[in-house]
């Protein structure tokens, strides 16, 4: 019976308690469970005695006992199979039967019979006891070429089971044997063995990831043996040992030994690592310079524009295109379009169709990323305060005119000191007292006066007026000047010099009769209307401007003492706007539309040509020191030229919003003023330093307003008081205002 069972393990359901889930090859193929599968517990209870009943084989039962005794189940096996069946059911089922060595069986039987009552060994599960193949845990392939598979305890060879099954047998086996699916081969012994139901169940459980033991409760309530809370009392109340208070002699001994060894030089201190680079060092110090710089100069890719309202599915109506806009949009080149799409409105989001331009848009974006110039813009961080030039505060630059002091209703003004001269289109020139604003003399000239200038020479009291094509020399009221001055003027005018008549286009004549009584002394008849007259600072020469595009006869210089006139220019250089004599040197300044020419009167040549970037120069004024010139132009600018510096403007002031009509320098104070069509007069401080290296200091100090703009004309003329920091301005509104 035993032989049959052993030989045909497949037929025998081996009820072994030992699960062999992994079917460990090196073991337990010998274990033949002959016990019935159904009640292993009962057998357990019964112990080893009744084992024969079912098997019909005492040897088997004893064998099983033996196996229990010898700890077969764990022999050569991993510890895990013993774990799940650490329960009681293990012991009785050690009924494996080793068919391979009958002799062994008998041996074991005898042993077993010797001590049937030793219950304590039932629990024993020693590892080595039951190993019948003593080769140990080696790869069984090593015995592949041998007829045996190992050695038993007595050193005899364990022969390999005869395996003569060919494929056909195997197939038949498979077909006929219902237990074929649970038949495994024990690699160590080479036997086939059939897994019991329990073993199969165990395998199934483990495959599911469950515990092998059915009864194991993995969710047992945990028992807090030691509470996690900090207790105020010690767990044990045992007093400390005395030895914990006294120094340990053994330690002292050890320490003294170490000290002695150190002293003797047997123990050397641990060598410190020779670390010249320091503990922390720049890991990338030796890295290439360019590489890191490139990394630092990372230029981020341009950002995609954020979507706007017009891209909404429900944009506000102002974002929707009107029909005209739409037509324009359709006609435009795609590149020129402001929007690449037409904003559309949908009642709800689900009506929005697919965006057909998606690929285009992505492609454009990729192009942007690919083609964008990866160049870092050097942004200069400058404090805006630093860009403002350090200029003194206007308050420190007193005095300058600040408030309007007097308003007189008359068109033009030309003040000299105590007196001011007003002239205008109604054909009269009037002399006013500045301090009271009283008109003291009125001279009828019978025509619109275009220009009037006082003679700058203090020893002469004379005024030049231009009326139409006549220049009049008028003597102011006799009380306006010292008697000696008056007599000097008289002498100059009454000298009987024969005018060099006939040669030029100019006719000199002395006034007579009523005109003489009014104060008109001399008339100089010009061929064309005169717009401007200017005195030389010595008071003898007088320049008259007759602007004419076509003629070279635009400027005439008269000499009063000799009654002589000359035309200094033989060529027409453009429309003459304004002329001026240089206050110190024999220069003559002539402003045409675009440039200012400076002629040397002695050498009769052009010495300099100032090129302002003005389109149409309106007026010209020379600094009393003679090195600086200001030009006002109809394109709202005022250019300051430093004659020593360059022919380009040293500074261009664009304070006015409309055309600059007139500019003026103060004779003694560092002030200049400009009058503009925007109705304002701007007074600037302009210090010229005697040190040639220092540039002029130009500070705008005051905007004087008061004139009313009439017919788009604001302030027409501006003049300084010769000694006080006062400025007279005459406006198109027919008033003269004095600002002090």
């Amino acid at each position: 019976m035993a032989a049959t069972t052993s030989s045909t393990s497949s037929s025998d359901p081996s009820p072994g308690p030992e699960p062999e889930p992994e079917s460990k090859p090196n073991r337990s193929s010998r274990k033949r469970r002959t016990e019935p599968v159904d009640n292993p517990e009962e057998e357990l209870v019964l112990g080893s005695a009744p084992a024969d009943a079912e098997d019909g084989d005492d040897g088997d039962s004893e064998d099983s006992e033996d196996s229990v005794y010898s700890g077969l189940e764990d022999s050569g096996s991993d510890s895990d199979d013993s774990d799940p069946e650490s329960g009681d059911e293990d012991r009785p089922e050690e009924t494996c039967k080793d068919e391979g060595d009958v002799a062994l069986d008998t041996e074991v039987q005898t042993e077993k019979n010797l001590e049937p009552q030793k219950d304590e060994y039932e629990q024993d599960s020693s590892d080595e006891e039951d190993i019948r193949n003593t080769v140990g845990n080696i790869p069984m392939e090593w015995y592949a070429d041998f007829p045996h598979i190992g050695y038993d305890l007595d050193g005899k060879k364990i022969l390999k089971p005869i395996r003569t099954k060919d494929e056909l047998d195997q197939f038949l086996n498979k077909m006929e044997d219902p237990d074929f699916w649970k038949t495994v081969q024990d690699k160590q012994t080479g036997q086939d063995m059939v897994l019991t139901e329990q073993q199969v169940a165990l395998v199934n459980r483990l495959q599911k990831g469950q515990f092998g033991d059915v009864n194991f409760n993995e969710h047992e309530p945990s028992v807090d043996f030691f509470t996690h809370e900090v207790m105020i009392h010690p767990v044990t109340n045992r007093p400390s040992d005395k030895r914990s208070f006294i120094p340990s002699l053994i330690e002292k001994e050890k320490v003294s030994k170490l000290v002695h060894a150190i002293k003797m030089g047997w123990i050397k201190p641990r060598r410190t690592q020779d670390d010249s680079r320091g503990r922390y060092y720049d890991l990338w110090a030796s890295e290439e310079q360019g590489k890191t710089r490139d990394m630092r100069m990372h230029v981020p890719a341009p950002r995609a524009a954020l979507p706007g309202h017009e891209e909404s599915y429900n944009p506000p109506p102002e974002y929707l295109m009107t029909d005209e806009e739409r037509a324009v949009w359709e006609q435009q080149d795609p590149i020129d379009r402001k929007l690449p799409f037409v904003p559309r409105k949908f009642s709800c989001l689900r009506h929005v169709p697919a965006f057909e331009r998606f690929i285009h848009e992505r492609f454009d974006r990729c192009l942007d990323l690919y083609l964008c110039p990866r160049q870092r813009k050097m942004r200069v961080n400058v404090n805006p305060e630093d860009l403002i030039p350090k200029l003194p505060r206007p308050r420190d630059l007193q005095p300058f005119p600040t408030t309007q002091a007097m308003v007189m209703t008359y068109p033009h003004v030309s003040p000299v000191g105590f007196w001011s001269l007003f002239w205008g289109d109604d054909g009269t020139a009037r002399f006013w007292e500045v301090s009271s604003g009283r008109c003291l003399k009125k001279v009828e000239v019978g025509g619109a006066i275009k220009s009037a200038v006082w003679n700058p020479n203090h020893n002469l009291s004379l005024v030049a007026l231009s009326v139409g094509s006549v220049v009049l020399l008028v003597s102011p009221p006799s009380t306006a000047a010292d008697k000696q001055v008056v007599t000097a003027t008289e002498r100059l005018l009454s000298d009987e010099v024969e005018p060099a008549a006939g040669e030029g286009p100019v006719v000199w004549s002395n006034a007579e009769g009523e005109e003489l009584h009014q104060g008109i002394r001399m008339k100089i008849q010009h061929p064309k209307p005169v717009t401007q007259v200017t005195w030389h600072s010595k008071g003898d020469y007088l320049a008259a401007v007759m602007p004419d595009h076509s003629s070279h006869l635009q400027v005439l210089i008269h000499q009063v003492s000799k009654r002589r006139s000359q035309n200094p220019f033989s060529k027409n250089k453009g429309l003459v706007q304004s002329v001026a004599f240089h206050p110190i040197r024999p220069y003559f300044l002539l402003a045409t539309q675009r440039s200012v020419r400076i002629y040397n009167l002695l050498k009769q040549e052009l010495s300099k040509k100032l090129q302002g970037n003005a389109k149409w120069i309106s007026s010209l004024a020379v600094h009393p020191a003679g090195d600086n010139v200001i030009c006002g132009s109809y394109d709202c600018r005022l250019s300051w030229f430093d004659l020593d510096l360059s022919t380009k403007p040293y500074k261009t002031l664009r304070h006015h919003r409309k055309a600059v009509r007139s500019v003026a320098f103060h004779r003694s104070y560092p002030l200049f003023a400009s009058a503009s069509d925007d109705g304002s007069v701007i007074v600037c401080h302009g210090t010229v330093f005697s040190d040639l290296l220092q540039n002029p200091l130009i500070v705008p100090v005051k905007v004087l307003k008061g004139h009313v703009i009439t017919h788009d004309l604001g302030v027409l003329d501006v003049t300084f008081h010769p000694s006080q920091p006062w400025v007279f301005s005459s406006g198109a509104d027919g008033t003269i205002r004095l600002f002090t």
Binding site: T402, T403, S435, S436, G437, D482, Q484
Partner: protein
């Protein structure tokens, strides 16, 4: 509203109240304080008539509420506040308007009309000063002397306190001292030699007189001159300076430098201060005794145009009158420098001159050809002063 401890006192004997501290609401104004004083006076004197008072806290007129005034002036409200009260200066009343034929450029009031004849000085644009004799009975003037010497228009004349000399300032930057005694019927020696004018003046007004002394130093026209005492002349000029000259020795003693052109100055012997009117709206007070410097004691700012005339009150050390190109005449008290006491808006054009009379009149003339006189009651303040 908090209360302030105040004590009232006055220099005016008629209105003295007991020297006891009072607790006054801090928000009280002039009218409230005035009522308080009147109540006190009534309690003391049953026959008292109601009088309006003005109040001075630490020498400054109270113009707002007491608390704001003390806040702005930085006076502690913890202590007892001493408040002086004076009778309110009544508003000057326009009395007379005298029409003239032309602009009035200067006005001068004189009290010495005892004699039948008095002397007048006129300065002119024709570079001369003429000394006239005015017979008040016949109401005739006669030119006694024609003072020649200036080479510019003469802008200002002033006689010295004794009446024997006068000074004149001119556009030609000179200050000249002349004799004002007309008794010399005999000619002053004129130097006709240096004037060989073929065109002699047609009618010679009076006898020609030459200056005793010429003082030069100003860089611009002398616009105003006055005598501080019998040997000191003060001049104001367009060159932004006020200079004080010693007439005896003919040297300049002090220069006060301003920043603007001076049109007019006035000196008060009572408070020994100079008041100047300049082309920038401000009236400035100077102390002529400071040696050199530009120390402005006080700025009186209310005008909007050039100040053309300033004049101290002859009998009150605090008051002055000013005329300006903004057509206004203003009466000032130096104790209230922020605002004038009264604006006299009678003129319709520029005001050029202003003066006081001893008899309690203020005069002002201007470009509207009118000479206004204002009745001014100085009697109470006289008592106070």
């Amino acid at each position: 509203m908090s209360q302030l401890q105040t004590r009232f006192f006055t220099e005016d004997k008629r209105y003295v109240v007991d020297d006891v501290p009072f607790s006054i609401p801090a928000g009280s104004e002039i009218q409230d304080l005035s009522n308080v004083i009147n109540k006190l006076l009534e309690a003391k004197n049953a026959s008292h008539k109601k009088v309006d008072f003005d109040f001075l806290v630490k020498g400054l007129f109270l113009r707002t509420t007491l608390s704001t005034h003390m806040e702005t002036e930085g006076i502690s409200t913890e202590d007892v506040v001493e408040i002086e009260y004076v009778e309110k200066i009544t508003a000057p009343e326009p009395e007379e308007c005298m029409m003239h034929d032309d602009w009035i450029s200067s006005v001068h009031a004189d009290t010495e009309c005892k004699n039948l004849t008095s002397l007048l000085l006129t300065a002119s644009l024709d570079h001369t000063v003429i000394l006239w004799e005015w017979n008040s009975e016949k109401n005739k003037v006669k030119a006694r002397h024609c003072c020649r010497g200036h080479t510019g228009s003469v802008d200002t004349v002033a006689t010295d306190p004794t009446g024997t000399k006068f000074c004149s300032g001119s556009w030609d930057k000179m200050l000249k001292i002349w004799s004002a005694v007309p008794t010399d019927e005999a000619d002053e020696i004129e130097e006709p030699a240096d004037r060989p004018r073929k065109k002699q003046k047609t009618q010679q007004l009076g006898l020609t007189r030459t200056p005793i002394m010429t003082l030069s130093g100003h860089n611009e026209a002398v616009s105003s001159a006055l005598w501080i005492d019998s040997d000191e002349v003060c001049t104001a000029s367009w060159d932004h300076t006020i200079r004080i000259w010693d007439v005896e020795s003919g040297i300049m003693k002090t220069t006060l430098t301003g920043s603007k052109v001076f049109n007019s100055i006035s000196y008060s012997p009572l408070c020994r201060r100079l008041a100047s009117g300049s082309t920038d709206r401000h009236i400035r007070l100077w102390d002529p005794r400071t040696k050199d410097g530009a120390l402005v004691l006080l700025n009186l700012t209310s005008h909007t145009g050039w100040v053309t005339a300033v004049k101290w009150a002859p009998s009150n050390e605090h008051q002055l009158v000013s005329g300006s190109l903004d057509n206004l005449v203003k009466l000032w008290d130096t104790r209230s420098c922020k605002a004038p006491l009264y604006d006299l808006a009678a003129h319709e054009d520029k005001v050029f001159c202003a003066d006081w009379t001893e008899g309690g009149l203020m005069l002002s003339g201007g470009a509207d050809n009118k000479l206004y006189s204002y009745k001014y009651s100085p009697c109470q303040t006289d008592a106070g002063a």
